[in-house]
């Protein structure tokens, strides 16, 4: 049996007296595209931020390539996490830099290329997400939301990461642009042969980009299975969520 690329066991995280993750178990096999679905505030972001090391979990283990990054030595943990490329929800482009400097950032940071070659490399990466050279010297603020997302995707894939995370890749985009971004994501992940985790509450998007799916509710994974089966699942949580019903086992807390 192959080792999962990412293996999470009993992951817990609370903020104050609010428990966000309450024992999450999740396996992502190499080369698999996993989508994690769940309502707003169910801890989807906290889950991937824990894997990235941006949030320190209270308990549990996170293994990348079979090594627990929470107990590994700092340098080793950084190395393991260095394989991860991340597409942030709002792009998180560096607004003090041009588009090409954003895209080439990781390559320059890792000293993989020299500054003089960086722009050419960035332009070729931009081409893979369907952007022409003339955007390379613009600043991110001059781009539309869809284009910013593409640039952010280009930045995430520039270092050809073995693992990719997508945080609500289609949120805030129109349906067509959402579909275009999804297509680019599938394209990039397949081309690089990466393992990926996407978090989303957009069902159409989840089915387009995911092989496997898992549903996070109340800090736990309540269902997992093939992404194709999302709409036809007999799990009451998944059923209510994917069909967007207000009645069902998930009670929305209207007041906190």
């Amino acid at each position: 049996m192959t080792t999962p690329k990412i293996r999470i066991r009993g992951l817990k995280k609370s903020f104050g007296d609010k428990t966000v993750l309450d024992g999450v178990d999740l396996d992502v096999m190499p080369g698999t595209a996993m989508v994690v679905i769940g309502g707003s505030g169910t801890g989807k972001s906290v889950l991937i931020k824990s894997i990235l090391g941006l949030v320190t979990p209270d308990a549990g283990s996170i293994e990348i390539d079979g090594e627990n990054v929470l107990t590994a030595r700092r340098a080793r943990a950084r190395q393991l996490r260095g394989q991860i490329g991340m597409l942030f929800q709002n792009g998180a482009l560096f607004d003090s830099m041009t588009v090409w400097e954003n895209v080439a950032f990781a390559l320059l940071a890792e000293r993989k290329i020299r500054r003089s070659q960086a722009r050419d490399k960035a332009v070729s990466v931009l081409a893979t997400v369907g952007l022409a050279e003339n955007v390379a010297d613009l600043s991110p603020a001059e781009l539309s939301g869809g284009m910013q997302k593409r640039v952010a995707l280009a930045r995430a894939i520039a270092a050809e990461p073995a693992i990719m995370f997508f945080d609500e890749p289609t949120t805030g985009l129109d349906p067509i642009m959402g579909a275009v971004i999804d297509e680019l994501i599938v394209d990039c992940v397949k081309r690089l042969g990466s393992t990926s985790i996407a978090i989303t509450h957009d069902m159409a998007s989840a089915q387009r980009i995911g092989d496997e799916a898992a549903m996070l509710f109340d800090g736990k994974i309540v269902w997992s299975g093939p992404a194709r089966g999302l709409l036809a699942s007999d799990n009451p949580y998944v059923d209510q969520f994917t069909h967007g019903r207000s009645a069902g086992p998930i009670k929305m807390a209207l007041r906190r």
Binding site: L52, G53, M86, D95, F105
Partner: protein, 261 residues
């Protein structure tokens, strides 16, 4: 009884919050300084921060120092002429400016200009996930964002204070000679007669410390900001307020240490 206890509890909570804040600040400062001594280094970013803190603060610092020197000469004249000690004015101006007013006023102005800008920039980067994005791109945000600013603060402030010292003395000279009728060469001789190296040096040491404090609190508050535009605004305010208070408090401590008899 209960209200009394509530009051005590509130004071206790405030003290604990303050201590937690100081502890977090100390850890942040330690990490920032540690990052300065290990690669990768970012000379380009240090240069940009130097420009931002040093060069672009020149006009405000210069004007502040000039007017301070002018008003010092005027004020000490009205005071000293009452007991015929006008000849001390040159010394009073140069000693006040180099030892105290140069570093402190420059510190307060730079904190309002550059410290606030740092807090706003880092705060915005925090709330738009740009700081998180840095860590996902194999870059330590402390090393990339904080360390260069700390270094630039420590380098830029003494340079600004040299300018402030010169313009402060010039301001006093202008008022003394043009307005109060002093002989220019006598005034200059009096200026340097009682000036010692440690007067200027102590001011420059203060400037280094203030530069560090300004950059540290600008970065610290920005780095920790939460919750959108409002959070960034609050971070900016507290960067300036906390840096200003620390500058004034440390000014006393440093004067005590440097001139302890």
């Amino acid at each position: 009884m209960n209200t009394l206890l509530n009051g005590v509890g509130a004071v206790g909570a405030m003290v604990l919050d303050g201590l937690a804040w100081l502890g977090a600040l100390a850890i942040f400062a330690g990490r920032g300084v540690f990052c300065l001594f290990r690669p990768p280094y970012y000379p380009r970013l240090v240069g940009r921060s130097l420009l931002e803190i040093g060069f672009f603060s020149l006009p405000v610092v210069a004007l502040t120092a000039l007017f301070t020197g002018m008003v010092l000469a005027l004020q000490s004249y009205t005071g000293f002429s009452r007991f015929n000690a006008e000849s001390a004015i040159a010394s009073v101006v140069v000693l006040s400016v180099t030892r105290e007013l140069g570093p402190v006023l420059a510190g307060l102005m730079v904190s309002g200009r550059a410290g606030a800008a740092m807090a706003a920039e880092l705060g915005t980067m925090r709330v738009t996930d740009q700081i998180d994005a840095l860590s996902t791109l194999s870059t330590d945000p402390m090393q990339y964002l904080v360390a260069p600013r700390l270094l630039a603060g420590v380098i830029a402030m003494p340079l600004l204070v040299v300018v402030a010292d010169i313009l402060g003395v010039l301001g006093g000279f202008i008022v003394a000679t043009l307005r109060l009728g002093f002989n220019p060469s006598t005034y200059l001789v009096n200026t340097f007669a009682n000036l010692r190296v440690e007067d200027v040096a102590s001011g420059l040491i203060k400037a280094c410390v203030f530069g560090f404090v300004i950059a540290l609190l600008g970065c610290f508050n920005g780095y920790r900001s939460r919750g959108g535009a409002q959070g960034v605004g609050a971070a900016t305010t507290s960067a300036v307020v906390s840096a200003s208070i620390l500058i004034l408090a440390l000014d006393y401590v440093l004067t005590q240490v440097l001139f302890a008899k």
